[in-house]
């Protein structure tokens, strides 16, 4: 008899059929021609803002060694459009829908979370706390432990769906922010968003990104993210979603072994439209090869002497 592989992961009330999901901003309904959305662990649309916003000037992306920098600027059609069109479009699939939210203030996060979180087709919220707090000093919410805690708390007060805090890696101690998010009532932590970065064209001496700086993603960032997943898993029992630089099954497994219960795939899909299903297959092959029949056994299974 061939033993069944269990790839199901549970995060609060969220049941993921497998640990592979897209990273916000690197996934859209247009990709349905390339992959079967029902085969994903969850669906995570691009972060939404309350009001429509145009996004940043171009060029919005550039390639660097083994990575890319982006500064899209959360181009968004606003909350009304999202409720009316985006949610129903993704609700048509069996995979759970995780709505990613960006906001300018704690109050706005709460307002939006109440509206989106209470929609029956939304299964969880991912709070993009890497965006700047415009009512504060403009630094990202997720750079300050107190702000992070009060933000999650405020959202927790208005909705019952699982809350995933998407941490920014641009901090001195990611553990402090992780603990603050846990104290605020987060269900899970996404480690992490992009690393703030910059690249210059030496011929013209101009920045390669219209917005001068942007978020660094792709394979180059993976060791930093693996380190952070490990550090965060040492201080909290919250489930971790690893994100940053996954290109293949081995990369995903590295994060799972470091302590991630699930992973998100962003940049890789730009190069290989079928990256997510391919990664899942590679994980299953690994499980068979190592006779591990439940993916949960791998989570945090790092061997340190």
């Amino acid at each position: 008899m061939i033993a069944q592989l269990n790839t199901e992961i549970v995060i609060g009330s969220l049941k993921l059929k497998n640990p592979i999901m897209p990273a916000s901003g690197a996934f859209g309904p247009e990709m349905k021609d390339a992959i079967d959305f029902n085969e994903l662990g969850a669906l995570v649309p691009k972060s939404i803002t309350r009001l429509p916003q145009p996004g940043n000037r171009t060029p919005r992306v550039c390639e660097t060694t083994a990575g890319m920098i982006n500064s899209i600027g959360i181009q968004s059609k606003g909350l009304d459009y999202y409720m009316k069109y985006t949610i129903p479009e993704f609700a048509a699939y069996s995979a759970p829908l995780i709505s990613s939210i960006s906001a300018d203030s704690v109050d706005e996060f709460a307002e939006m979370s109440e509206v989106i979180g209470n929609h029956p087709d939304v299964d969880a919220l991912e709070l993009n706390i890497s965006c700047p707090n415009l009512k504060g000093n403009g630094e990202a919410f997720g750079m300050n432990a107190e702000v992070t805690e009060s933000l999650i708390q405020a959202v927790k007060n208005v909705t019952d769906v699982p809350l995933i805090a998407k941490l920014t890696p641009n901090v001195t101690s990611i553990q402090d922010i992780a603990l603050a998010a846990e104290a605020g009532g987060a269900t899970a932590l996404n480690v992490a968003n992009t690393l703030l970065a910059m690249a210059i064209d030496t011929e013209s001496r101009r920045p390669l990104i219209g917005n001068i700086m942007g978020g660094f993603s792709g394979p180059a960032v993976k060791p930093v993210i693996v380190r952070m997943i490990y550090q965060v898993s040492q201080v909290t029992n919250l489930p971790i979603i690893g994100c940053g630089g996954i290109m293949n099954g081995k990369d995903a497994l590295e994060m799972i072994i470091a302590g991630a219960s699930a992973v998100q795939v962003g940049t890789a899909s730009f190069i290989y439209p079928t990256a997510m299903p391919d990664i899942l297959e590679e994980i299953k092959d690994y499980m068979k090869r190592h006779a591990i029949y439940d993916i949960n056994e791998l989570v945090g299974s790092i061997q340190v002497d």
Binding site: G25, A26, F27, G28, E30, M31, D33, A34, K46, P54, G55, T58, P59, R60, V61, C62, E63, T65, A66, M68, N70, I72, Q75, G218, P219, S269, F270, I271, Y272, P273, T274
Partner: protein, 259 residues
């Protein structure tokens, strides 16, 4: 937006800066239109890892061709690809040109490698019995690559270059006005230069000739998901931001906002 591996038939240098690649497209099932593009892995290795967008230069029975300028790391790597190897592409992508088959003559205004995008349209024009006039602008005569191809299609070709001191906008404008006097131009198509695009836009407005422009913008996914390659177009409801990879790369010349 399917990924395909197409056998490379040839990949050769055709001038000091340009290369030409022919690939076997016989296993491709989706139709390919002039103006559409493929998102191409430039290297057999892992890096550079982002794909690069390239227009389809020629569409044949069972092959397609690319004409590319060696610009940076990606296109440099592309020159190392050899016949017999597989070209890793995603596509065909985007919205191509529309060509009214009742048109008498169309005008192509191409700068540099912009001709790689417009050549397939010239080919379609021949097939539809539409005449073609083309202005090819380039740095040097060596860069005027597709002139022979276009002349072979029966196009009336005007070449302007920096080398000859003929490529300034004023001179191109004079040539266009001359062409408009002698022909019934029913469409203006442009690619490759902001300055010539603005000129084409102004002339199209002045003569009430419909036109199209193929835009280039740095792309991430090229599938419409990431919103990296945006531009503005004028709609009845105001200015709208659209994705070059999905809603384009070909846009109405009248509507596009040229920055």
């Amino acid at each position: 937006m399917k990924q395909h591996f197409m056998p490379i038939i040839s990949n050769q240098q055709v001038s000091s800066r340009y290369w030409h690649m022919v690939v076997d497209s016989s296993r491709l099932t989706s139709p390919i239109e002039p103006g559409q593009f493929f998102h191409i892995r430039c290297s057999q290795g892992s890096f550079p890892f982002l794909r690069r967008p390239f227009s389809i230069y020629r569409i044949n029975e069972s092959t397609i061709e690319f004409l590319y300028l060696v610009k940076g790391e990606g296109t440099q790597e592309m020159t190392h690809l050899q016949a017999g190897e597989m070209l890793d592409v995603v596509g065909p992508l985007g919205v191509g040109f529309s060509l009214d088959k009742s048109a008498d003559t169309i005008l192509l205004v191409a700068r540099g490698v912009g001709i790689a995008t417009l050549a397939a349209l010239a080919q379609e024009a021949v097939e539809k019995n539409v005449k073609c006039a083309a202005i090819l602008s380039a740095r040097s005569k060596d860069d005027l690559l597709a002139a022979d191809l276009l002349q072979g299609f029966g196009a009336e070709v005007y070449k302007v270059t920096e080398e000859d001191g003929t490529s300034d906008v004023a001179n191109v404008e004079e040539i266009i006005r001359g062409i408009l006097k002698r022909n019934k131009i029913d469409g203006i198509y442009t690619c490759g230069s902001r300055r010539l695009s603005r000129l084409s836009q102004n002339i199209a407005n002045e003569y009430h000739i419909p036109g199209e422009i193929a835009l280039e913008e740095h792309m991430g996914c090229a599938m419409g998901a990431c919103f990296a390659c945006v531009c503005d177009v004028k709609e009845d409801t105001g200015v709208k931001s659209v994705r070059v990879c999905l809603e384009g790369p070909v846009f109405s010349l009248e509507k596009v906002v040229l920055g």
